[in-house]
Symmetry: D3
Subunit: 172 residues, 6 copies
């Protein structure tokens, strides 16, 4: 039984929007790591639905009462963000075979760019295995109800976004 500095885990992603599958990973990660930094990727390469600011705001609101979760935005290489945080652990959820090879590729490249970096994969609950932000956006865009798939304040903003601006990407 040792008492020591416990590593920080960084959970990077676009979170556009955050859904209950993400939240399950955050919750599990806080059982393992003393601090979980949720890293919101700014340069996600495609027109986002919510701006990085909006995404960070929603995330912070969600984890306002949880001191183990810190929300940060980052751009550039993930390993640069890790070094900046003096962290080494990357947390990723793994859901399905289609995730698998992409995640492997990223884990191996990140290790090459930063040999101390270690990617740790967690598994969401069965019922979230097939949930993705893209699918959530598509369902809302077509008028479907995503209650239970995203946290309630996110659902409200999602529906407002699609009703008022027809899903037009946000300027930041």
């Amino acid at each position: 039984m040792t008492f020591m500095h416990q590593p920080v885990g960084v959970y990077p992603g676009s979170f556009d929007p955050i859904h209950v599958g993400h939240m399950a990973i955050v919750e599990r990660a806080t059982q393992i790591f003393s601090k979980v930094v949720v890293g919101i990727l700014e340069n996600s390469g495609k027109d986002p639905l919510f701006s990085p600011t909006e995404r960070a705001d929603m995330m912070r609101e969600l984890y306002a009462g949880n001191p183990a979760v810190e929300v940060r935005r980052f751009s550039g290489l993930l390993v640069s963000f890790l070094k900046e945080l003096d962290a080494k652990i990357i947390i990723r959820g793994m859901r399905a075979v289609s995730d698998f090879e992409y995640e492997f590729q990223m884990a191996l490249m990140n290790r090459r760019l930063y040999p101390s970096a270690e990617t740790v994969f967690l598994t969401p609950k069965e019922e979230y295995l097939y949930l993705s932000s893209k699918l959530v956006r598509e369902v809302v865009a077509l008028g479907g109800d995503v209650t239970g798939l995203v946290p309630e304040p996110v659902r409200v903003r999602l529906e407002a976004r699609y009703r008022s601006s027809k899903g037009r990407p946000a300027a930041d």
Copy 2:
């Protein structure tokens, strides 16, 4: 920055024999967890090459100088072993798509049997992605050289086993 009791990780497997891919997982796991318990599964359901005692001996020899690694044998459900150790983290290496669904199935079943159990997947180095104990056994059985794929004392015992007893499963 918090100082707290860091969780114990349990790395279960048959390790028949241990190879360098396993060792890479143990090494990575000790960067994340203060203690890594290597759990050698006794009831692996098929005739083992090395008995559980032999496998535990080789493993203990290997990690003799590393206080962060503890070698234990277990039989029965993995979650019972976890409870006995007062541990919640299961460590598994994930190499390839063929591992993926089996590992998922086990992770989800273990969570069902013990809701606090959390399976954490780590990724070995690229060069070990296609290495398995079964392949090591097959190569040695056919007279191939596994130098560099297993630790040296294991290689010596492996070759002795196949030379003298024609791979006859060990009685314990």
Copy 3:
């Protein structure tokens, strides 16, 4: 032996263009369901090669003599289209592993949005397992011959489209 109202099956897709793999699914589906509604998705999210009207026209021409097949266009959620038709069965072809997880994701989401919805997967003939509308478009765009991969009237229109308008997406 029971006589009863037999369920209607809905076969949704972009069908841009329809190919012989699609046609095999329609034919098989009519062996199982008394009526098969081919649902042509209008909002397919990318620039279509043929407009929804053109795709519906080609499809109707193809099934003109078959009272068991009805061709409809739809936009919005598939489950809304199902409800409008008072149908519960979604028919999908499944060809390859890459289809598999996407199809699963859609089947599970549709069930969530409409619990009575049931997705039924059929398997095309071996020789069509690797055929897709996208591949057909690419081959024609590069001047390749798709005889035997699409029905003849579709082939003629496909080649005309690429010859005259250089694959410019149709306005509807």
Copy 4:
């Protein structure tokens, strides 16, 4: 709206033992087909836990009140069983990628052996996606609790079997 003879669906399997994932497929199948024949495979090629008679008894007990479900045993080729029943539809659950290629292979071979045969794949609920009879047997053999994974009378018999006879395969 047509009234006609609705096809019979045959759901073949070892069902050793039946679990809630199987039951979900039976239930869904009865929404599509007027009659679902559950075909219990006698020659499953490995030592079964329950004899075909026991498996049929448990299944019949389970569906005693449901006239749409008929329980039959069969040996030999599935397509011979289909012909004997004057049926053409094979029902299979598809859970994961590892099922996928095996199921495809069987579907294509069955079609070759009996061109009228059509395999229809249904998808269980997310929470059963990783459930299998083999996993159920393993968990019970190690003393784990499978409440909720198999119907209650099956659970009782499973535990009795492993307690009294140490999982010895039943003679029929």
Copy 5:
């Protein structure tokens, strides 16, 4: 345009029995390599249906008229067989995702054991993508007809084997 010594390709396998998918690979390989050595693996680790001698006899009969094909038996490591033949090219058919990772594992291990060894994967025709020796054996064992899936003399021997000796493994 160069004239030089063209490499020999070695096509190893159990071929128990040879089927039309194997034959398609042999035929394609002879388009690429001046000589194709079919290597019949003696130590296939499970009870074979046909003995290595029987398998070699059938194969030799099949390729009697083709000087580009040579039939050999081998035991032990494939790379030792390659060295014995002064060959470096291993030919394998690749059919499906389930083959893929196993084949990769073997290709990478063979390269490790013999760095000059190169595995070349060929693709059979679509209609043979789901054919395997195991499936052929199962279908014949259950009384199914495999005409068209194996060469005619093999079909005759297969059916004789299952009729007379109930699939009892052959002693060599």
Copy 6:
């Protein structure tokens, strides 16, 4: 031992940019084929980072001293390029499951368009299994170091491109 005209292998791709995984395939291919034509695809369908001219220049520089490698540009169907070269062998690297089905689809379509065409798959070294041009571009775009992943002159041009023109696609 025969002396004959050895077939030419064509290795098509976008090579935007060429990386060490590609180079390993070229090197292996020259062990099998007397001549390897690297075919640089001009119409790659997306904005390239380097123009076809630039890609051909880099490739020619790289293989300047190797008479077995010829660099060519092509547009249109690959099979037309093959016919123009009087070649029949297509060489492709296969790295991972995600490549697999796409490659299969292309191999089967090419065979359909040109029945003599034969696709031969080679396997790169383990350490390059997860390398791709897209990943190289992404890492450089974010300021990461790709030393060792691409040949040195390519690395210099890559970094110059991203520094000066912010990754703006080149006009040719």
